[in-house]
């Protein structure tokens, strides 16, 4: 059973039949692992057509031209239609995604939060009070950031691309994480 599962996941990982076609949106380094400090094994150019085979965190695994590796999640998108292949990629991810063994999946007594509940909600002063009690002071937040070594970086807000260029949106473009997919 274990062997079968292992074999299956190897197939899912490597079989190009499970890949979705994609295109690079920008130049990016191809890395050996989904991490910025992983070795770069080459560069993939904007416009290059690739196969998208997996995703993890902020990274997407691609292959093409005899090479494979990881690029940033926003550097590539699928050119596959939203249906069908998306599901296949979902299967790819299901086979490769790191599973958290500690994760408890609720099967009963799921407490949702739908429109009806929100509509009927009544003001809860006690909870609001509790919330205030948990608030952090500026000094506390800054001390925490120092303690864990978070260093503020400079980055301007991103302008709305739709306002800058009125390029018509490409039709049928879909990311691998489209409906039911990754």
């Amino acid at each position: 059973m274990k062997a079968t599962l292992a074999l299956l996941s190897v197939c899912l990982l490597s079989a190009p039949a499970f890949a979705a076609p994609g295109v690079m949106l920008r130049d990016d380094d191809l890395r050996t692992a989904p991490a910025a400090n992983a070795a770069a094994v080459g560069r993939v150019a904007k416009g290059a057509t690739v196969d998208i085979v997996a995703r993890q965190g902020g990274w997407t695994r691609i292959s093409g031209g005899g090479r494979s590796g990881w690029v940033r999640i926003l550097s590539v998108r699928t050119t596959a239609p939203a249906t069908g292949l998306g599901d296949v990629l979902g299967a790819v991810e299901a086979g490769t995604a790191r599973r958290d063994p500690g994760k408890v999946v609720a099967v009963a007594g799921v407490r949702g939060l739908d429109e009806e509940e929100l509509k009927l909600a009544r003001f809860n002063a006690a909870e609001l009070q509790r919330l205030s009690g948990y608030a952090s002071s500026r000094a506390e937040a800054e001390a925490y950031a120092r303690e864990v070594g978070l260093r503020p970086a400079k980055l301007a807000y991103l302008p709305n691309p739709k306002r800058q260029s009125n390029q018509p949106k490409q039709n049928g473009s879909a990311f691998p994480w489209n409906e039911g997919g990754l």
């Binding site: 407490r111 503020p152 879909a174 994480w177």
Partner: protein, 320 residues
């Protein structure tokens, strides 16, 4: 006398029903309802003829937050709040007051998770992210609410919530910062406040109500009502995209992995669309794929040279 009492009871109910139930696009129906009420009640006030407020450009620079006048609320004429809210010149104090009402309502639907360490952790991270914004001095409050749904909410004045269900999906502190950053973006750009303003119904009924209520507190109570659907109400797509862009930038400014928010979006996109836990989220937000595509377009080459941020995976507070 009886009539007045009926009015006072009916109006808030009606307002709640309209604000929460009917779409804002149906302003015509509202006018009709109002007209009927006016005829039937010969009320002293008439609703000012209101024009739908065109959506303000999203990149409006926020005014520097004025210092909160201590204990000014009781003296403040209620009409001033109304005018401020409807005219688009809400002070920070008023904004916070409105947010407080909405936050209290939301907590009525789902209380805070009983885990003090978790709540304090989320407040530290959240405030650190908010401190990187142009409104660091808002009274920011962050909370994890007890629901298995996957969602996050913002209310005016600095109230930010995420569900336990969404928290469980997060893999590290950077992803938490990304989610909070998105909601902080809604607060910064006053998206929900604008939604309130844009409502012709609020404008008309507000003018009406303004003469009937005792004080500002009651007015806010009447304006917002008891429901919290406003926080889950679909903002327009551009507001969501804007909050995504802000969320990503604030995450990076705070020293976290700038790609953490896109990673969460991709993860959410992986949840089957028909899963109950995401039904409200998917109903009120563009599909994750569209949001990622928008972010990719907005980012372009702009992240070149941004220092590699932390993921904070090891210290990430895990839910028991």
């Amino acid at each position: 006398m009886n009539r007045v009492r009926v009015m006072r009871k009916t109006l808030p109910t009606l307002l709640v029903a309209i604000v929460l139930g009917a779409g804002f696009a149906q302003a015509g129906d509202l006018e009709e309802i109002l007209k009927q009420m006016m005829r039937g009640q010969s009320a002293p006030a008439q609703p000012a003829p209101t024009q739908p407020v065109p959506p303000a450009p999203p990149a409006v620079p926020t005014r520097p937050a004025p210092p909160v006048a201590p204990a000014a609320a009781p003296e403040k004429p209620r009409d001033q709040l109304l005018k401020a809210l409807l005219g688009g010149a809400t002070t920070q104090e008023e904004e916070v007051r409105i947010g407080q009402q909405i936050a209290g309502n939301l907590l009525g639907a789902a209380p805070l998770v009983r885990d003090e360490a978790l709540q304090r952790y989320v407040n530290r991270v959240g405030l650190w992210v908010a401190l990187q914004s142009e409104r660091p001095d808002l009274p920011w409050h962050f909370g994890v609410i007890d629901s298995d749904a996957i969602n996050a909410f913002a209310a005016p004045g600095g109230y930010v919530f995420l569900t336990k269900g969404l928290y469980r999906k997060l893999r590290n502190e950077a992803e938490l910062a990304g989610v909070l950053g998105h909601e902080i973006g809604h607060v910064l750009r006053q998206h929900h406040l604008k939604l309130l303003r844009q409502s012709q119904g609020i404008a008309a009924l507000g003018g009406f109500l303004g003469r009937k209520v005792k004080d500002e507190s009651e007015l806010v109570q009447n304006l917002i009502g008891n429901g919290a659907e406003i926080v889950a109400r679909g903002l327009d797509k551009d507001a969501e995209y804007e909050a995504d862009r802000i969320g990503m930038v604030l995450t990076a400014r705070a020293g976290y992995d700038v790609y953490a928010l896109p990673a969460v979006l991709a993860e959410i996109g992986h949840v089957p669309r028909n899963d109950k836990s995401v039904s409200l989220l998917f109903k009120t937000h563009p599909p994750p794929a569209d949001r990622l595509e928008h972010l990719a377009e907005a980012v372009g080459e702009r992240l070149e040279g941004v220092p590699e941020g932390q993921s904070g995976e090891k210290r990430f507070y895990r839910l028991r």
